[in-house]
C-alpha cells in the first residue's frame, strides 16, 4: 500500500489535546446534571471493629439532606467487588461494597449521604455516627502471619490471601553448585499513585428505560460495566460507563471501587443524578495503595558472574481486602524479578497477607519496581564479592536476541494471565551500551565514592524489562462521516498519556490521510459493543493495532464500493491518500461513498506480551551531615520496538522516572499501631516538584520490533520507574562504600540515609 504519510515516528505535537491548554478539558467534576444530588461517603475512623449501628437521625434532619444510605439499603447479600485475575484462594477476601457487620480498614465506607450541595453533604456526613466496637488492629506482617484468621474468622483459615510460586529449572541444584551465593532482606514502602485529579463519579438512572449511566470511567470501562450489571442485576446493555478527561491514573484510577456501586445505587434509589467527588484527604485512605513488600532473596552465581539461580520469599501487605487487581503486584514481583537477565533456575514464593490497612492495587510498574530493586541490589553485592565491574556482571547476564523467545518463570497457581510468558525480542546489551555512553560512565566513574565539597558521589547502572500489551483483545471501528471526516472509535482509555494523538497518527498513516481529518472517540462503553481499556502498558499496542486493522478493513470496503460505483473490477481501482482512482482516471473521495456505509471494524487479538527492555544510569551526591541525596544525572534508554510518538513517549518515560524518585526518596503512607493512616494532605506526602529532579534524560531505540503485532510496537511508559529503586540504592551504596552501608530498605529518606551512616552502637 502506498501511504505518503509518516506520522508514526514523526515529531507530532498533541494538537488534539490542545483543549487542556485553554481550560477547556472536561474532567468528571466539570460535568453536571440538572437536579443532581451530591454524595459524601461516611468512612470508618476505626481500622478494625464490629459495626454495631449507624445513627443518621441528626443528619437526616438537616434541610437539604435527602437520604443516608447504609448496608441496610442494599437488598439481599452485600455485593462484593470481582477480581480481574481470579484464583482459588482469594474468594473470601473480596471487598463488600459497603461494611455491614465489620469494618476492616481506616476509611472503609459505612454510609453515603445525599444532599443538595457538596458542602451540605459534607456537613451532614459529620453528623452520621457509626458505633464501632474496636477489635485489635492487625498492621504488621508478624501479626498477620499468626496462625488464626484475624480479619475473616469463619470464612478463612489464616490471613494469607494467596501464595504464588514462580518457578523454573532446578534452583536447589543450582545453589548447590554455585561459586557464590549472595542474599539479604529488602523492603519497599507503602505508597500510592496519587493522580492530581481525585476520583469522581456521576451516575444517572433512567427508570423508564431501566438504564444506568456512570460517568467518570477510566482504565477499564468494559470490565466495570460487566461488574456493575451483575451487581445491579441488569443486562450488560443496560449499563454504560462514560469516560471524560482523566487527570492521571498510574494504575490506581478506574478500577471498580466501592463508590462505583454506592453512587449508582443512590441514583437508582433516588431517581436523581448523583455526583460524588473525592476530596484529597479521603483519597489517601480510599484509593488503592501499593508497594508494601518485603523480601528475603538470594542469588547463586559462578565465578565469572553468571547467574545460576534465584530463590527466596516475598511478603506483600495487600491491605484489608483483595481488590480487582490486588494480586497483580504480588505475582508480578515473583515472575519478573529476574528482569532482563538470563536466570535458568528460579524458586520464588510470594505471599499476600491481609492486614487492617487500605486495600492494595497497582501503581505504575506494579511488582516490577519492587523486584527490580531486589535483584539490582543483589547484583551489586555479588559484583563486589567477586571483584567484578558492576557493568560486567550485568553484561554477561543480559539476554541476547538469539535466545528469544526467552521464557520467564512460571506462576502458580495460574491466574489466567500469562502464567507462562516469554521475552519477545531484543539485544538487551544495545540499550545498555547506549545508556552508558550517553551517561558518560567512564568520566563519571572517576567521581565514584569520592568526597567532593562535602558530599559523596556515587554512580550506578540498572537494567529492566517492562511487560506490555496486556491481552486478550482490543476493538476499533472507523467510519466516514458525511463531511468526509473519519471517526475512529477505540476501546482503549485515555488516562493522560496522549492516546488521542497516538491513535490519530496510526489511523492517518494507515488510511493515507492528513491527521486533521481524524476524530478519535475512546474509553466509553457507548461507542463499541465490547472493548478492554488501558492498563499494563497496552493502549498503543492493542488499541493501535486494532485501529490499524479497522483502517485496513475500511480501505478494503472503500475499494469494493468504488469499484462498484465505477463499474470496474476491484483490482483496477487504486486507493491512495483517501481517494479511489479508476483505470480511466475517475476519482472518488471517501466522502463520495460515505452514504453507502463506509466503515471498518476490527478486533485485535493478542495474548503474547511485549517486553520493552532498557537500562538506567544514575549519578548521586550524598550529604553525610543531613543524609540528603541529590540526583545529579539520570539517563534511561529503552528499546520499544517501534516509536509511534517520541514526544509523548519521552514525556511518559521522564514522568515515570521522576515518580520513581518520589518513591525512592520520600513518598510513604505510614500507619500507627491502631491502624490509623497518618497521611491526609499533600504536606505529609511529598511528591516531586519542579525543583526536585531536573536532570532526567531519556533516549529510545526501535531496532527490535515486537514479533507479536504488525505495528511492531511494545508497551512502554512504565520503564522509567521500574529501575529507579535499584539504581539509586546502588549509587548511594557506591557513594558511601567507605562506610560499608547496605541501603536495602526504601525509602532512602534523609533520616534513613543518615541512620545508615550513624548506626546505633
Amino acid at each position: 500500500m502506498n501511504t505518503p504519510n509518516t506520522y508514526i515516528g514523526g515529531h507530532v505535537e498533541r494538537v488534539e489535546d490542545a483543549r487542556f491548554l485553554r481550560g477547556a478539558g472536561r474532567y468528571i467534576d466539570d460535568v453536571t446534571r440538572e437536579g443532581m444530588l451530591h454524595a459524601c461517603v461516611v468512612r470508618s475512623a476505626v481500622a478494625h471493629g464490629r459495626l454495631v449501628s449507624i445513627d443518621a437521625e441528626e443528619a437526616l434532619a438537616m434541610p437539604g439532606v435527602h437520604a443516608v444510605l447504609t448496608a441496610a439499603d442494599v437488598t439481599g447479600e452485600i455485593p462484593t467487588i470481582p477480581f480481574r485475575r481470579p484464583n482459588p484462594k482469594i474468594g473470601p477476601y473480596a471487598q463488600p461494597v459497603i461494611a455491614r457487620e465489620r469494618v476492616r480498614y481506616f476509611g472503609e465506607p459505612v454510609a453515603l449521604v445525599l444532599a443538595d450541595s457538596p458542602e451540605l453533604a459534607e456537613d451532614a456526613a459529620e453528623l452520621v455516627l457509626p458505633e464501632i466496637e474496636p477489635l485489635p488492629a492487625v498492621v504488621t506482617r508478624d501479626a498477620a502471619l499468626a496462625a488464626e484468621p484475624l480479619l475473616f474468622p469463619g470464612t478463612t483459615e489464616d490471613n494469607l490471601a494467596a501464595v504464588f510460586t514462580a518457578g523454573k529449572g532446578d534452583a536447589e541444584a543450582a545453589f548447590a553448585g554455585a561459586a557464590l551465593v549472595v542474599g539479604d532482606s529488602f523492603s519497599t514502602q507503602r505508597q500510592t499513585a496519587l493522580p492530581l485529579e481525585t476520583r469522581g463519579l456521576l451516575a444517572e438512572w433512567d427508570a423508564d428505560a431501566q438504564h444506568l449511566t456512570v460517568h467518570g470511567a477510566a482504565k477499564l470501562p468494559f470490565f466495570n460495566r460487566r461488574a456493575m450489571a451483575k451487581m445491579m442485576d441488569l443486562p450488560e446493555t443496560s449499563v454504560d460507563y462514560v469516560e471524560h478527561d482523566v487527570g492521571g491514573g498510574f494504575g490506581a484510577r478506574g478500577e471498580f471501587y466501592p463508590e462505583d456501586f454506592l453512587v449508582a445505587l443512590a441514583a437508582r434509589i433516588t431517581g436523581r443524578p448523583v455526583k460524588w467527588v473525592e476530596d484529597r484527604r479521603e483519597h489517601f485512605a480510599a484509593i488503592a495503595h501499593s508497594r508494601e513488600a518485603e523480601a528475603q532473596v538470594e542469588l547463586a552465581l559462578d565465578a565469572s558472574g553468571r547467574i545460576l539461580g534465584l530463590r527466596g520469599e516475598m511478603f506483600m501487605n495487600v491491605g484489608a481486602y483483595v481488590r480487582p487487581n490486588g494480586m497483580t503486584p504480588v505475582r508480578n514481583c515473583a515472575q519478573f524479578m529476574s528482569g532482563p537477565y538470563r536466570v535458568p533456575n528460579i524458586a520464588l514464593q510470594a505471599t499476600a497477607y491481609v492486614a487492617n490497612k487500605t486495600p492494595a492495587g497497582t501503581f505504575r510498574g506494579p511488582g516490577r519496581y519492587e523486584g527490580s530493586f531486589f535483584i539490582e541490589r543483589l547484583l551489586d553485592m555479588a559484583a563486589a564479592r567477586l571483584g567484578l565491574d558492576r557493568r560486567t556482571i550485568r553484561q554477561v547476564n543480559l539476554l541476547t536476541n538469539a535466545e528469544m523467545p526467552y521464557p520467564l518463570a512460571q506462576i502458580r497457581p495460574s491466574d489466567g494471565s500469562r502464567a507462562e510468558t516469554s521475552c519477545d525480542s531484543g539485544e538487551y546489551s544495545e540499550a545498555f551500551h547506549r545508556c552508558l555512553q550517553a551517561f558518560d560512565w567512564e568520566e563519571k566513574e572517576k567521581l565514584d565514592g569520592r568526597l567532593i565539597d562535602g558530599r559523596y558521589h556515587g554512580i550506578a547502572v540498572s537494567c529492566f524489562i517492562e511487560g506490555g500489551a496486556s491481552g486478550p483483545a482490543e476493538t476499533a471501528r472507523i467510519q466516514v462521516a458525511g463531511d468526509g471526516g473519519v471517526e475512529v472509535y477505540v476501546g482503549s482509555s485515555a488516562i493522560g498519556q496522549g492516546l488521542e494523538t497516538v491513535m490519530a497518527q496510526i489511523a492517518a498513516d494507515t488510511l493515507g490521510l492528513p491527521m486533521e481529518c481524524i476524530r478519535i472517540y475512546h474509553g466509553s462503553t457507548t461507542y463499541l459493543a465490547e472493548g478492554w481499556g488501558s492498563y499494563g502498558s497496552r493502549a498503543t499496542v492493542m488499541g493501535g493495532n486494532a485501529v490499524r486493522e479497522a483502517a485496513l478493513a475500511l480501505l478494503a470496503r472503500f475499494r469494493a464500493l468504488a469499484a462498484r460505483r465505477l463499474g470496474v473490477g476491484e483490482a483496477e481501482v487504486s486507493v491512495v491518500g483517501g481517494q479511489a482512482v479508476g483505470p480511466d482516471g475517475a476519482v472518488l473521495d471517501l466522502a463520495d461513498l460515505a452514504a453507502e456505509g463506509l466503515a471498518g471494524e476490527a478486533k485485535f487479538l493478542n495474548s503474547d506480551a511485549t517486553y520493552t527492555n532498557g537500562t538506567a544510569a544514575v549519578h548521586v551526591a550524598v550529604d553525610p551531615e543531613t543524609g540528603r541525596v541529590e540526583v545529579l544525572d539520570y539517563v534511561v534508554c529503552d528499546e520499544v520496538g517501534r516509536i509511534v510518538n517520541a514526544l509523548t513517549l519521552h514525556g511518559q518515560v521522564t514522568g515515570a522516572a521522576v515518580q520513581g524518585f518520589g518513591s525512592v526518596f520520600g513518598e510513604e503512607l505510614p500507619y500507627d499501631d491502631d491502624g490509623a493512616l497518618l497521611v491526609g494532605t499533600l504536606a505529609d506526602y511529598l511528591v516531586p516538584l519542579a525543583t526536585d529532579y531536573p536532570r532526567v534524560r531519556c533516549l529510545s531505540l526501535e531496532s527490535y520490533p515486537s514479533p507479536t503485532n504488525p505495528l511492531g510496537a511494545k508497551g512502554a511508559g512504565e520503564g522509567g520507574i521500574i529501575p529507579v529503586g535499584g539504581a539509586v540504592a546502588n549509587a548511594v551504596a557506591s557513594a558511601l562504600r567507605a562506610f560499608g552501608v547496605a541501603p536495602n530498605h526504601l525509602p532512602l529518606s534523609p533520616a534513613r540515609v543518615w541512620a545508615l551512616l550513624n548506626p546505633p552502637d
Binding site: E13, R14, V15, D17, A18, R19, F20, L21, R22, G23, A24, G25, R26, Y27, D29, D30, E119, L194, P195, L196, E197, T198, D245, V246, G247, G248, G249, F250, D279, R280, I495, G496, Q497, G498, L647, T648, H650, G651, Q652, T654, G655, A656, A657, V658, Q659, T681, L682, A683, V687, P688, L689, A690, T691, Y693, P694, V696
Partner: protein, 177 residues
C-alpha cells in the same frame, strides 16, 4: 449573601454562602471550570488564578473578600481560537500529559513572568537587586508551587523559558518602532 465578582473583565452578581471559596464560586457558580481543584488546601497550585495580576491559590480565599478585585482565570488568558505564546510553547515542549495541572501551570507562569519582569527576586536569585535573568533553576523555583503528578516538569520549564526568551527578543524591537 449577594456579591459581585469581576472575572475576566465581566462583572457578575452572585448569591453565595459567605463560606464559599473563590475556587468554588468560579467553578460551581460561574461555570468557569478551567480552574481545577487538586487539594483544596493550597498545596498543589491547580487552582491558580490572577488576582489584580498576582497569582494566588483560589482555594485558599473566600469569594466574599474579592468584590473590588480584578480576577483572571485560564479562560480569560487567551481567546479560544488564538492560543497565546505560552500555550503554544506548552504544546511544542510537551509540557503536559493528563492536563489537570495545566491551567494552573499556565496561569501561574503568566503571573510569574510578570513578577520576573517587575524584578522580583526568588529564593534562588543570586542577587536581590539585579534584573532577574530567568534560567532553568529560577523558573523551576518560581513554579515550585504548581504540582504536576505526571511530572511534565521538563517540558513545562522549557516552555516557560522559551516564552520568556521570545518576549525578550520582541520587546526591544517594539521599543525601536
Amino acid at each position: 449573601m449577594e456579591i459581585t465578582l469581576t472575572v475576566n473583565g465581566r462583572a457578575q452578581a452572585l448569591e453565595l454562602d459567605p463560606r464559599t471559596t473563590l475556587l468554588d464560586a468560579l467553578r460551581d457558580h460561574l461555570q468557569l471550570t478551567g480552574t481545577k481543584k487538586g487539594c483544596d488546601h493550597g498545596q498543589c497550585g491547580a487552582c491558580t488564578i490572577l488576582l489584580n495580576g498576582r497569582r494566588i491559590n483560589a482555594c485558599l480565599t473566600l469569594a466574599a473578600m474579592h468584590e473590588a478585585d480584578e480576577i483572571a482565570t485560564i479562560e480569560g488568558l487567551a481567546p479560544p481560537d488564538d492560543p497565546g505564546a505560552l500555550q503554544a510553547a506548552f504544546l511544542h515542549h510537551d509540557g503536559f500529559q493528563c492536563g489537570y495541572c495545566t491551567p494552573g501551570q499556565i496561569v501561574s507562569a503568566t503571573g510569574m513572568l510578570e513578577e520576573a519582569r517587575a524584578g522580583w527576586p526568588s529564593h534562588v536569585s543570586p542577587n536581590l537587586e539585579a534584573e532577574v535573568a530567568l534560567d532553568r533553576s529560577e523558573v523551576a523555583e518560581r513554579m515550585s508551587g504548581n504540582l504536576c503528578r505526571c511530572a511534565a516538569y521538563t517540558g513545562i520549564v522549557e516552555a516557560i523559558l522559551e516564552t520568556a526568551e521570545q518576549e525578550r527578543d520582541v520587546e526591544p524591537r517594539e521599543a525601536a518602532e
